[in-house]
């Protein structure tokens, strides 16, 4: 038996599990989404989505919240990744641990923690009011801002680690070379560091975007009833309204939009030059 074949065979157990618990249920759900209450074939679950601006607005909100989360994690995460890239091995380990540590706690508990911090009587509002900076408490929860804060907290680790990994791969003498050729630090960042960590940025942004699009717990807890997103209404259709076909259709619409947007995005960024530079 050749080596490649035997390695392929080693993946068989994982493949069988994936087939049974992931691909088969997905196919069943896909079939379900094309059925009416009498189990006859119909497109009504999908046409309903296009006709009813309520659903379109929810999809748009899901995308909007995800994009804000991507932006927030990118802007907050980049400096952390830069810090890690220039730190010594020991410090790198400590920062990686600090970034991953919150993930040891259930996301439900972490989100409730945010409710305590951000609520009308939470300590942020209390402090700002005591300082006399505001008169009315700020609305930091149960709106899109609250959801973005929660999602940013949940997913920033992925962004930091993806960017840090690509920063590690950059030869430190490149910024020295840029500097001696006359580039200031800011110039060096935009002409050398940033273009060279593009693979990390693409990985981080697509990861955080996909995770935000499909996030359920955080929008449910921190968005409340007023900021519903696609996973939340799909859940409601299935668990509360018991309209499984519509719930399944909503889930596939979400999946389809995510794949479409991510594909468009990577096609747009991965130009001919990008492929030539970063192809292994």
């Amino acid at each position: 038996m050749n080596k490649r074949l035997s390695i392929t065979l080693l993946t068989a157990p994982a493949m069988i599990v994936l087939l049974g618990v992931f691909i088969l249920p997905m196919l069943l759900m896909l079939m379900l989404s094309f059925q009416d209450e009498n189990q006859a074939f119909t497109l009504q679950n999908y046409t309903l989505f296009v006709q009813d601006s309520f659903y379109v607005e929810i999809l748009w909100r899901t995308i909007r919240v995800s994009l804000w989360t991507v932006l927030a994690t990118l802007l907050l995460g980049f400096p952390v990744a830069m810090y890690m890239a220039q730190a010594t091995g020991k410090m790198r380990g400590i920062v990686t641990m600090l970034i991953l540590a919150p993930h040891l706690i259930s996301v439900v508990i972490r989100n409730f923690g945010w409710v305590v911090v951000l609520g009308e009587k939470g300590w942020i509002n209390e402090m700002l009011m005591k300082l006399g900076l505001i008169e009315q408490p700020l609305r930091l929860l149960y709106n899109e801002l609250g959801v973005v804060i929660g999602l940013t907290d949940s997913f920033i680790a992925y962004m930091v680690l993806a960017i840090a990994t690509s920063l590690y791969a950059i030869d430190p003498s490149l910024s020295k070379a840029a500097s001696i050729l006359g580039a200031s630090r800011i110039r060096t960042f935009f002409t050398v560091t940033l273009p060279l960590c593009l693979p990390g940025i693409i990985a981080g942004t697509t990861l955080v975007f996909s995770l935000s699009m499909s996030a359920f717990v955080t929008p449910a807890l921190m968005g409340g009833t007023s900021v519903k997103v696609m996973p939340v209404i799909a859940y409601e259709q299935i668990m509360a309204t018991l309209n499984w076909p519509l719930g399944a259709a909503l889930a596939f619409l979400l999946l389809g939009s995510t794949i479409l947007l991510v594909t468009l995005y990577t096609k747009l960024i991965e130009t001919k030059r990008y492929k030539e530079v970063f192809a292994s």
């Binding site: 030869d171 020295k176 070379a177 001696i180 060279l196 530079v277």
Partner: protein
């Protein structure tokens, strides 16, 4: 007629420490315009640290650094107008060769036409006129280093810094690029500081060499001075293979010293730089290439010793031999042009050398 020298770089008592560890101490140097100067020493001798201070990546903890007469302490690298070539090539992987070279020109807001002309000219200078549109990873190591040199030269720097630019290349390419560097320097005449741990590179390229050891300058001199009149035992041993014997002065007759080694061998030495006293403890050096091997003793030659040829390694242009002479084992280099080059281990030979080829130094304290 007195010609006034133009000093391009001046180091005045430069000192650098990392935490409490002094890595460069009291470094004084004047580099003349157009000079090719090498910093030579083993790793950790402070040569790269000094280069980084000249480049501006590190700031000296003491002393003054002047480039073209201007004090440069605290001036960031991007304001120094220098060219630098790194050991790892350091080409920007996301830019083509032409873009890499144009990088420094763009920052200087050079017009498009002139930029293209200068990129083209410098590519011809490094003999790679057809690679402008390639990416660095599509080039070989030697080509990359040529492009790195082109990128450093195109901005017409006041000073070219070379940080071990040849050490990542294999032996043949290294020699080729070494000659290339020499040709470029003769053609352009840019003041150059070259950091290396390879004494051959330093000897071949430099107008002057600064030999460094443990952060101290051991000697500054031309390659010939460094080779023939080493200021210290370190310089002599670092610059090439040598035979070292300890002994004392037993007779002084005008210019001629007679020495007796600890092994009882009598050695005559003439033309020494230093003065010695009778009974002074000394170290005696003879380079392997200065010793001749023969089957019969030449009685006119006072410096001769009979020995057993233990080892003969044929290395192409010469044969490296090891001769056991009782108290001392001597290393001997026999050139191929010599008829006696074909040496076979196991036979009895005579090692003979001239009195003027012996270097005598006082025993260093500590």
């Amino acid at each position: 007629m007195e010609v006034t020298k133009v000093i391009d770089v001046e180091l005045r008592g430069i000192m650098k420490k990392f935490q409490n560890n002094v890595v460069v101490q009291d470094f004084n140097l004047q580099v003349e315009q157009g000079e090719f100067i090498s910093f030579l020493g083993p790793s950790g001798c402070g040569k790269t640290t000094t280069l980084n201070m000249i480049a501006g990546f590190l700031d000296p903890d003491g002393g003054d650094l002047l480039i073209k007469g201007q004090r440069m302490n605290g001036v960031p690298p991007y304001k120094r107008e220098l060219g630098m070539v790194f050991q790892t090539y350091s080409l920007f992987p996301h830019m083509t060769v032409a873009e890499n070279i144009a990088y420094g020109l763009k920052l200087r807001k050079i017009g498009k036409q002139e930029m293209q002309d200068r990129v083209k000219r410098v590519l011809e200078l490094v003999k790679l006129p057809n690679v402008a549109d390639r990416y660095p990873k599509q080039l070989s190591g030697g080509q990359r280093q040529r492009i790195a040199i082109a990128r450093a030269l195109v901005i017409e720097p006041s000073l070219l810094l070379l940080d071990e630019p040849l050490s990542n290349l294999d032996a043949k390419l290294r020699e080729e690029l070494r000659d290339e560097l020499k040709r470029l320097h003769q053609e352009i005449g840019v003041t150059t500081i070259f950091v290396t741990h390879d004494q051959e590179e330093a000897l071949a390229l430099s107008d002057r060499i600064v030999v460094l050891n443990h952060g101290f300058v051991e000697q500054i001199g031309t390659p010939l001075e460094i080779y023939n009149q080493p200021a210290s035992e370190f310089v002599h041993t670092f610059i090439g293979k040598t035979n070292r014997m300890e002994g004392e002065v037993i007779a002084i007759d005008g210019d001629t010293l007679t020495l007796r080694t600890t092994g009882g061998l009598l050695v005559q030495a003439t033309g020494q730089q230093r003065a010695f006293a009778l009974q002074q403890k000394v170290v005696i050096f003879v380079r392997p290439e200065k010793i001749k091997l023969s089957d019969a003793a030449d009685t006119a030659q006072p410096n001769r010793v009979k020995g057993h040829l233990q080892l003969a390694s044929f290395l192409g242009s010469y044969t490296e031999c090891e001769v056991a002479t009782g108290a001392h084992t001597l290393s001997v280099k026999v050139q191929m042009s010599d008829k006696s080059a074909e040496q076979e281990a196991g036979k009895t030979v005579y090692c003979q050398w001239n009195a003027e080829d012996v270097l005598v130094m006082p025993v260093e304290r500590g």
